[in-house]
Symmetry: C2
Subunit: 378 residues, 2 copies
Amino acid sequence: MRKNYLLTPGPTPLPPQVCESMARPIIHHRTPQFQAILKEATEGLKYVFQTENPVFILASSGTGAMEAAVANLLSPGDTAITVQGGKFGERWTELCKAYGVNAEIIDVEWGKAVDPLEIKKRLSANPKIKAVFTTLCETSTGVTNDIEAIGKIIKETEAVLVVDAISGLGAIDIKSDAWYCDMVISGSQKGLMLPPGMGFISVSPKAFKLVDTAKTPRYYFDLRKAKKAIEKTDTPFTPAVTLIIALNEALEMIRQDGLEQVFLRHKKMASAARAAMKGLGLALFAPDAASDVVTAVKVPEGLDGEKLVKTMRDTYGVTIAGGQDEMKGKLFRIAHMGYIEEFDIIAGISCLEKVLAQMGYKFDLGAGVKAAEEVFLK
Amino acid sequence: MRKNYLLTPGPTPLPPQVCESMARPIIHHRTPQFQAILKEATEGLKYVFQTENPVFILASSGTGAMEAAVANLLSPGDTAITVQGGKFGERWTELCKAYGVNAEIIDVEWGKAVDPLEIKKRLSANPKIKAVFTTLCETSTGVTNDIEAIGKIIKETEAVLVVDAISGLGAIDIKSDAWYCDMVISGSQKGLMLPPGMGFISVSPKAFKLVDTAKTPRYYFDLRKAKKAIEKTDTPFTPAVTLIIALNEALEMIRQDGLEQVFLRHKKMASAARAAMKGLGLALFAPDAASDVVTAVKVPEGLDGEKLVKTMRDTYGVTIAGGQDEMKGKLFRIAHMGYIEEFDIIAGISCLEKVLAQMGYKFDLGAGVKAAEEVFLK
């Protein structure tokens, strides 16, 4: 009867009302009943995206929505900037390459945020750049980029700004309209507290102009079809009905707390997690740009990082994330995103302490938990 | 407290164990726990697809899997046959056009099955044809095509056979391997008794050769990535975890009954539905090629077909489907696919009788239900 605790940067834990809503009988999607649900969902998403632009719901993972951005904005031979400071920044480059778009890569050291002035410099040097693809929170490193500053630069140009906010949206601030984001992309299984299976994408009028002229082939992710459908409160293809019903439950929770409160809660969880790591003598992977959605921590010299994550999960039921790709075994990541409260953080830190102690790492037992408690008591 | 009854060709009703499984806490997808689930799902799908080929699970609707077929098999400028006898056959043509593939359209009158010899003729006339895209059950008309006969023709050629079995798989027979189908496509919300949100695609070695050489851009639906991932019991992108867990519940139900029994049940439901329509003096839309998954019925002269469907649904809670596109208002469709038993059919027919009577259609009240009962009693 082992109990499981989930502290990963997607999927994140599901609230009971979300779970319950998915157990209901299914309804047909071409009905007034479902139209009312879809309308509520798209309006609720606008609130979370902080936008007046339409937000489309795709039956796909977040990567599908990223592909929708590239395929709808650009034509083969076009040039776009990709900000590449981790695994998900690299995905933008891969997508551009797959679609014959020249990716002008801004290579950012893993663990650092991009310098917005570097984007400005590149845009000035090449006025043909049509789009800038970047990341709100780079899940692989726990870094948050300064989207507000980037937006201010891009609004003065012809280029559009596309932000992968897959992890971040509904957890930390992203003002789509006020920050001049032309497309903001997200997924269901992160700050929105849902299972994976839905991608979201908001589209500004500036971006729609490119959507209408881009020559890249597309069908399932064709935003022209999505736009035509949403005008009739419909979807071009069968939507993920169950997940959209669950989305409305999650959106209602977010609305009841209010976005400001949601962001404050994430800030508190993150501060506690970072304090705990300091209490345990562990070093953050991104001390200068640490996000409030996931805390990436360096595995101490001499310790087996993969074994640490595996033991926490397989022996004690606490699932955190390891490092990805080049960071495999070198870091671990504790997420505090979505339906996470302070005692979940305490549970995760306690398990981390237990396994660190068993692996022979030297520290004062309880020091991590105590440091977190001090933050929570404030 | 109106009760709802669902008799639409997707979504179809969910079994209680499927509903229940989706209410469970979520788990992370990059874990041995999820790998075991994924393995069970892909093995179970092979049983239902009647194939030894890998079956990939996509987080998308069925159309996403159709796009995967076109984008992975063909290059711009290639030629393919599309069998077009309804809305979903037309989708193959649209997909080919979107990807710059020359669609050699076989235009089949709505309500008729394609003549396999027509495919043979076209293939002989143009040996450059690389693929034939067809439909097992054309949901918009209720027609089943003779895939076995088509497969025998295609195996003698260089072309690959791609079958949209979105509605049909898990309801009527489709022997992917024995009938030489190179790709069989399906979706979750039909015979598999799940919510929408997953697409499935099986790929033969003959098809994989084209996948490796096709020049169409692709990323999210790239089957090379999917193949590489499945070899490590993984998915290239975040899978729809909840739906895959639910899939295993549905697959277990199908396995317990056995495919033969499942097909027999669908045959019985369909025979009863057709007998009922005859009993009511209504004409089938596809009398010569009626499928066992959905029964399409002509709206009697002088009756408002859209009002019929709307009244059944909005006044009495019984959802059937109307006609699509050019058949709007001209036919209605009663599905008997998935988790449907005989008394569901009786309920649907009874409601149809009630509304027909209210709309002034002349028939013996109870004649439809009686005709269905006679079939079930046999």
